[in-house]
Subunit: 345 residues, 2 copies
Amino acid sequence: MKDLEACQEATLHLDRDALMALCHRVLIHHGFSEEQADALGGTLVAAQLDASHSHGIYRLLGIIDTVRKGGAVADAVPEVADVAPGVVRVDAKGGLSPCAFERGLPHLVTKARDAGIALLAINHCVHSTALWVELERLAEQGLVAIACNPTQAYVAPNGGKQPLLGTNPIAFGWPYPSDAPFIFDFATSTIARGDIELYRREGKAIPEAWGVDRHGAPCSDPAEVLDHGAMTTFGEHKGSALAIMIELMAGPLIGDLLSVESSEHDEGRLGLPYHGELIIAIDPSRLTGQASPAHMERSELLFDAILGQGARLPSQRRYRERARSLEHGAEVSLALVKEIEALLV
Amino acid sequence: MKDLEACQEATLHLDRDALMALCHRVLIHHGFSEEQADALGGTLVAAQLDASHSHGIYRLLGIIDTVRKGGAVADAVPEVADVAPGVVRVDAKGGLSPCAFERGLPHLVTKARDAGIALLAINHCVHSTALWVELERLAEQGLVAIACNPTQAYVAPNGGKQPLLGTNPIAFGWPYPSDAPFIFDFATSTIARGDIELYRREGKAIPEAWGVDRHGAPCSDPAEVLDHGAMTTFGEHKGSALAIMIELMAGPLIGDLLSVESSEHDEGRLGLPYHGELIIAIDPSRLTGQASPAHMERSELLFDAILGQGARLPSQRRYRERARSLEHGAEVSLALVKEIEALLV
């Protein structure tokens, strides 16, 4: 976070090729295979172009740190298993998730087209995904999709006081024939852990809704929340229920870890979470046949009515940032680039 | 609602058979087929035994009213279409949803077992479902499931000011080998519409988070919210995104109506919503094979940790009420029973 702050000073504008080259150089230097570097770099660069600094090339620092600590296998070769007509599993073999996703993607698409609905379970991966980037790939193929994963135990269930649930993101993608897909992607915690850390660093009080103290009471002291209490889920008992659903579906259902088990697996290394990921894809044309494009277009009624009353669509900001990045290059701080380049020596 | 209030005075305790007989008599009297009456009665009685008064036999009043106004087909014969290896559609033909669910259920189970994951789309049904009752049926078969449906346009998207989204419930069911299933079922609106109506009737202010006025500002006047503004989604922009997902998936994806289209279809009759419903079922044993029971049992770790820190599990209250109902009979007000019996003359 210190680097992120310092970087406000000087900003570079890097195009897609320059970002990709930087990722590739660093990853290959640290023992990543070409395939792993391509997949992981592609995800980080896509997030950076969308101005998601937390999911962009900043992640290289944490990824290399995790690899150095033995928490991720740089040159893992993911293994695909076709386990049922509607299910494909990919064992990431301790590698980063994007490469496992790439290997599973064509199988997921084929199965969704054949059966109407299909499930991709990624197992034993180290988290480095931006779920919306993956769902765009499915939307490009005309598939509706939901994705989710646990993380590590940071969040208390509603009414509780101890870290148990992950920040557990869930994302949804909707292909939209005449425009870019509708995609949302959010954590089921009230706020990102990094935001609470920033408040602690600055000695500021956090809004009480963000966390609880060791007794389960709403708490405005970031240190108490991070060290003795827990973060909260968004939306009280309803958000908490969703976070539990994600734990179960992208955990035991697919034979992988709960967030609390992932924390144990980390053994205090503070590496990136090791866990599973679940993606469900649905082919609208297998539901409504030739009428499917007309039905899908009806979503325009909803989107127009949302925008028409002054509300926003989740994907809007991302697409605006992406257009700007593609024209002028993505914004990256000079300090961050220097820090990433330092990984090369 | 007047009846619900009056009913506080005298309370009957009716067992399952008595409740079922009452439902059956009323429904047959109003032209329901045996099959429709059995399915619908079964759902209402299950909800009543769980002490869900809003989803229990109280619904008979609204259902018969909707049938009388021509808004539901009492003796509809749902039609099952096997449209893809992982997809079954049931056309409810304008009837109530439980009968269509019953017809689709065995196909959904078979497909989930065969393909690992399957989808049931119910189309053209009149809403009378308790999603948790349906998901229990799937959990009994060892299947993990998600269900959702739109309703009618009552809720503004986050940041908006006009009714557009439904109260859009979402439910999740998790079979738990050694105990009753874990099931949640909640509306994506902050609160039920009926609760806001109750505040209006009593001339009380509502919490500002429940609704917005015609300008989109938080509003404590229930009349302004109901007549000129809109209800809110839970969890701000995240809950709003989920409500939109439900509109799309249980609407255009399955070739059925958005909530705002369902409201138009109602043409001011104020009948029960006419729409679609989506259920996705997953067979854990097709994901992890023989290891599946052991993985599913790991959820106990999570449930125990939730209860151990003083938080609650969504299903707990329901199971407690059910046990009490099965022992002593379900509580029903005498006034409500009288009002239901008045439907017989």
